[in-house]
């Protein structure tokens, strides 16, 4: 274990560190621009990382992007009341009032430092959890994996918010799309028609870029003006009071620590995104605070809670992804697929023969978080200027890079058609309440689920249901679905008002 830890750190040589820095800068710029978010940065960068000669560098870059997507979006939330993504929403509750009270710098300092601390705690706990999780992973066989993957997909669809029926349809549709191409064990062709391009199946990279990046650009094309929608002269100087905000994170260490652990716990659960983590942490801190009336009016603890949870969530999200190969979000699904393309397979291999890669992920999480915070604190004022750029100036170059990136990964014109189709479908899904997140998770899990299912059938037939491990997983799944349902029924009978769930949670949630 110690050897693997050191080896993982040594993988981050100066060149890799340099590339991680560029990735952090890029991710931060994307995070500052509302509507784009972390998954956007991930899908844009992924095709280029897959062409690198050194797969270790690619892993470090991708992890760096995932780790810091929450850092930049607090800036626009605090300065303009517009979060960069839904995960930054809770930061706005107290961050924006702080800015209006002339404490923008303090809020930004607190947000970024809390994000760094949360991210570091997330990385450390991920490292600590693995020796605990490892024996469990080694006990899990194909039957248990089959049920684990299937229940995770259903779980994400049902608890993720939004229309459950359509989320389930989206997840199942993702599984169906993954069937296109050659069946893994027999090489029989399925749903390929006469197309040689489809023999290899639908490619992940153009699919992701279309669903997330292109769909968002089509939506942004419809808007006019800039993101901030105020004149640059009206903006507050974000640098004043920053040092006090940095110290606040350690002054309110209890809020920082508790929120980081909340974010971690949420990250481990599939389907719970960053917005849930930050909102829960905020709710918790505000509920147990001595001066509750300050919250919502500029309480720095509120900003700290939201950002610490947002970033520690990434560490938690890597636990099921790396240990079990079960992603709980769209970005983890993309990470999983990228890892497989690079030759690293989560699950038993990641925790035994590729333990150094696991540790690389941990170190990259920690280092990227620290780099991002330092970067944003240094350049927060020019970074905030990005929000004054008109959307009509941003969209064309981003679309061009997106389409080009789709093509560059395999040099096949079919990828341009795929990204176009996926972009239009992704836009329709956004507009009509179909979850792109569950679609992507279904797509990524399709091949491993089928493989495990067929192996299970060969080994046990349908009697695999009787295996103790399978029954435990099904019981946990049933309880996790039934308990919230029963609670909701009880609350309805008591006359409590249900929170609206009609609006689908944005797929920007990670």
């Amino acid at each position: 274990m110690i050897d693997a830890m050191i080896e993982g750190l040594l993988h981050i040589d100066p060149l890799t560190l340099g590339l991680m820095s560029i990735a952090v800068v890029f991710s931060t710029i994307i995070a500052v621009i509302p509507g784009l978010g972390g998954i956007f940065a991930l899908v844009l960068v992924m095709p280029f990382t897959l062409t690198l000669d050194n797969p270790i560098m690619a892993v470090a870059i991708l992890v760096s992007i995932t780790a810091v997507t929450g850092n930049g979006d607090s800036v626009t939330g605090i300065l303009f009341g517009v979060p960069g993504s839904p995960t930054g929403l809770a930061t706005v509750f107290d961050g924006y009032p702080m800015a209006q009270n002339g404490e923008a710098g303090r809020a930004i300092g607190a947000a970024l430092t809390a994000a760094a601390v949360g991210g570091v705690i997330g990385g450390i706990v991920l490292a600590v959890l693995i020796p605990v999780v490892r024996p469990l992973v080694l006990l899990i066989g194909p039957a248990e994996f089959t049920v684990l993957i299937a229940t995770a997909l259903v779980f994400v669809s049902t608890i993720g918010g939004g229309d459950t029926l359509r989320s389930l349809m989206a997840g199942a549709s993702g599984l169906a799309v993954s069937l296109v191409g050659q069946e893994p064990s027999t090489a029989a062709l399925r749903y390929t028609g006469e197309s040689l391009y489809l023999f290899g199946g639908i490619r992940l990279v153009p699919l992701m870029i279309g669903l997330f990046a292109v769909a968002e650009m089509i939506k942004l094309t419809q808007q006019s003006g800039s993101i901030a929608n105020i004149e640059p002269g009206e903006a507050v100087d974000p640098r004043k009071g920053m040092k006090r905000g940095v110290l606040d994170v350690f002054r309110y260490w209890r809020a920082t620590l508790e929120s980081s652990l909340t974010g971690l716990g949420i990250g481990i659960v599939p389907g719970m995104g960053g917005d849930v983590a930050s909102l829960l942490a905020y709710s918790r801190v505000s509920r147990f605070a001595k001066e509750k009336e300050r919250f919502g009016k500029g309480a720095v603890e509120g900003v700290i809670a939201s950002d610490a949870a947002q970033n520690s969530k990434s560490g938690g999200a890597f636990v099921p992804t790396l240990a079990f190969g079960v992603p709980g979000s769209a970005s983890m699904a993309i990470m999983l697929s990228a890892f497989a393309s690079l030759g690293f397979f989560p699950g038993e291999a990641m925790l035994t023969t590729d333990l150094d890669i696991f540790w690389l992920v941990v170190w990259a999480l920690i280092i990227a978080n620290l780099m991002a915070t330092g970067l944003i604190l240094a350049v927060v004022k020019p970074l905030a200027q990005l929000t004054f750029v008109k959307t009509s100036l941003l969209v064309p170059p981003i679309l061009v890079i997106s389409v080009y990136g789709s093509f560059a990964s395999t040099n096949h014109v079919g990828d341009i058609l795929t990204v176009a189709a996926a972009g239009l479908i992704g836009y329709a899904m956004m507009a009509l309440g179909y979850s792109r997140t569950t679609f992507v998770i279904g797509f990524v899990l399709g091949a491993p689920l089928e493989r495990q299912f067929l192996l299970t059938q060969r080994l046990y037939g349908w009697s695999f249901i009787e295996r103790p491990g399978v029954q435990i997983i099904l019981a946990i799944f049933a309880l996790s679905i039934l308990i919230p349902l029963v609670r909701r029924v009880i609350r309805r009978r008591e006359g409590a008002v249900d929170l609206p769930t009609a609006t689908p949670r944005s797929e920007e949630v990670e």
Binding site: R166, L168, A188, Q222, P396, A431, L432
Partner: protein, 161 residues
């Protein structure tokens, strides 16, 4: 917006219908696969069919069941967001996107990218020629010098050239 009786959300109906029909076709085609190869597709497409039919019934319920109110929905699904002024309609936004894809397929990135960017920035964004020129050169430089020159990534030449 408001609610009206008997109104069906036609966009959601079309989407669910399309998904259900495609699943039906996939299920039908799975009948030609060998048994082992067909097992998983049959399971998944059957699930989609069941879910799709349930969703269709839910969408059609206002028209079928008297007294059931349905929420009237704007034809522009994304137009519900408050705050941001509208520059382009949904059809226009999609048309601009296809204005990049189709020329790229026909004449390749070398020609399509600068033309698309110039037209988009000038006609849709109403930016000055100076801004257009700087943006086109900047993006083109990134693609050509960094991706093609430095990373040796290819450029697509188009079907016609």
């Amino acid at each position: 917006m408001g609610e009206s009786q008997g109104r069906i959300d036609t966009q959601k109906l079309a989407m669910t219908l399309a998904v259900t029909l495609i699943a039906g076709v996939m299920l039908w085609q799975a009948g030609d696969f060998p048994d082992r190869v067909a097992l998983f597709p049959i399971a998944i497409t059957t699930i989609i069919l069941v879910l799709g039919i349930a969703d269709l019934l839910r969408i059609l319920r206002p028209a079928v069941m008297p007294g059931a109110a349905a929420r009237a929905v704007s034809t522009d699904g994304m137009a519900q967001e408050a705050g941001a002024p509208r520059a382009t309609s949904m059809a226009g936004a999609i048309a601009w996107f296809l204005g990049l894809i189709i020329p790229t397929l026909l004449v390749g990135f070398l020609i399509a990218v600068p033309v698309y960017m110039a037209l988009s920035l000038r006609l849709q964004g109403k930016h000055s020629w100076r801004t257009v020129a700087i943006s086109v050169v900047a993006v083109w430089s990134v693609i050509y010098f960094i991706f093609v020159g430095l990373l040796n990534l290819p450029l697509y030449d188009g079907l016609l050239l």
